[in-house]
């Protein structure tokens, strides 16, 4: 299976074959041709049989990346994971009751690491594209990211949970991912992309308005919303640097919003209040 996420190409080798077939179906929208070029990373994933009571339901969720020389390990009982970014390969071997979901967690980890290594970010946020321009909404769980997506059927939704950002010669671009809230499902258009025009920290409020976020606070917000990477202490100095570049290139603002789509008036209209 060859995937293209954020313009990066992944070759995924999955065992057993039944999981590979299910994964090919799950990620069909992101499938890339094997002949389109060499992969940025080759993943080998092996799932072993597991009993329901032998492990926590999704042990990968509780496993952190640990630095081992130039590589990164996912090291926990029964889990053997390694990401070798310099050699462009990664591997995972674990017992799993739910291989498809564990594969998805692993893909999130790998994509966060790959994006960071290439100067980009996998950000916890929702992103919408309107008129070719992408708007990224960040905030803690429950802040309204999925609500913003649901309130915007007229916009192309890149994601409601994790969005890929990468710098290009034309500025920062936002890319859709298959990493949506598991309960919410996905929406057509997730493979799209757009030039990143604004980043908004969501604040639920009766009034609708924008408020600039000081640069330092913006950097802190962005870094706090880069899961996986911000769990690796050795990556923090670089993470702050990337977030500073992003906050310098793209306006970061607080968006006070209520549960209707009036926020688009201040975002797309350029006004600070609605």
């Amino acid at each position: 299976m060859h995937l293209c996420l954020g313009g990066w190409r992944l070759a995924v080798v999955c065992d057993p074959p039944a999981v590979a077939a299910a994964a090919a179906q799950r990620y069909a929208a992101f499938t890339a041709g094997a002949t389109a070029g060499p992969p940025d990373l080759t993943l080998t994933v092996t799932f072993l049989p597991a009993t329901e009571d032998a492990h926590s339901q999704h042990p990968l969720l509780e496993t952190r990346l640990v630095v081992a020389g130039t590589d990164y390990l996912l090291d926990a009982p029964d889990i053997r994971g390694r990401i070798e970014l310099t050699d462009q390969r990664a591997s995972l071997r674990l017992p799993s009751c739910d291989p498809l979901r564990d594969l998805e967690y692993y893909l999130r980890i790998v994509m966060a690491a790959l994006a960071y290594q290439r100067g980009g970010l996998l950000v916890h946020g929702a992103a919408l594209v309107l008129d070719g321009q992408a708007h990224l909404f960040i905030g803690q769980s429950g802040s309204g990211k999925s609500t913003v997506v649901a309130l915007s059927p007229h916009a192309v939704a890149l994601g409601d949970d994790l969005v890929l950002l990468r710098p290009t010669a034309q500025g920062w671009q936002a890319y859709g991912t298959p990493f949506w809230n598991w309960q919410a499902g996905q929406r057509a258009g997730q493979t799209s992309q757009g030039a990143l025009r604004g980043i908004y920290k969501l604040v639920q409020s009766p009034e609708v308005r924008l408020e600039p976020l000081p640069r330092a606070a913006a950097v802190a917000e962005l870094a706090a919303n880069c899961p996986i990477v911000n769990d690796v202490p050795e990556w923090w100095p670089g993470l702050l640097g990337v977030c500073r570049e992003l906050a310098s290139a793209v306006p970061v603002q607080r968006l006070f919003f209520r549960k209707d789509n009036a926020f688009w008036n201040v975002i797309a209209g350029g006004s600070t209040t609605a």
Partner: protein
């Protein structure tokens, strides 16, 4: 109203704790406590205190710099600096020592 710091508080030497990554951005500071996985932002006065907390200056000396640069009364600067340093100590971002560190030790903690 903030209490006036005593002589011991002003003589204490604050030092950035190990395991903190920091960036000065537009006069403010972003601090990351690796162990606690916490990110904090300091305003301009706080960022200046953080910058000056190099293990070579006392709280009183840092307050004198603040009083000069921010054009505030020295007693107020001393009170603010003492309270702020104590808060950062509570959060594990600073240590308060009774002696100044030597210059070669300073380099161990530069980021």
């Amino acid at each position: 109203m903030t209490a006036t710091p005593d002589a011991a508080q002003l003589a204490a030497v604050p030092h950035q704790a190990p395991g903190i990554d920091s960036r000065l951005i537009d006069g403010e500071a972003v601090l990351v406590h690796r162990g606690q996985r916490m990110v904090r932002v300091l305003n301009s006065a706080g960022a200046r205190i953080w910058e000056l907390a190099d293990g070579a200056r006392t709280v009183g000396e840092i307050a004198a710099v603040l009083a000069d640069e921010f054009a505030i009364d020295l007693p107020r600067a001393e009170a603010d600096a003492a309270v702020f340093c104590a808060e950062l100590v509570t959060r594990g971002l600073l240590t308060l020592n009774s002696q100044r560190v030597s210059l070669d030790r300073l380099s161990e903690h530069s980021i």
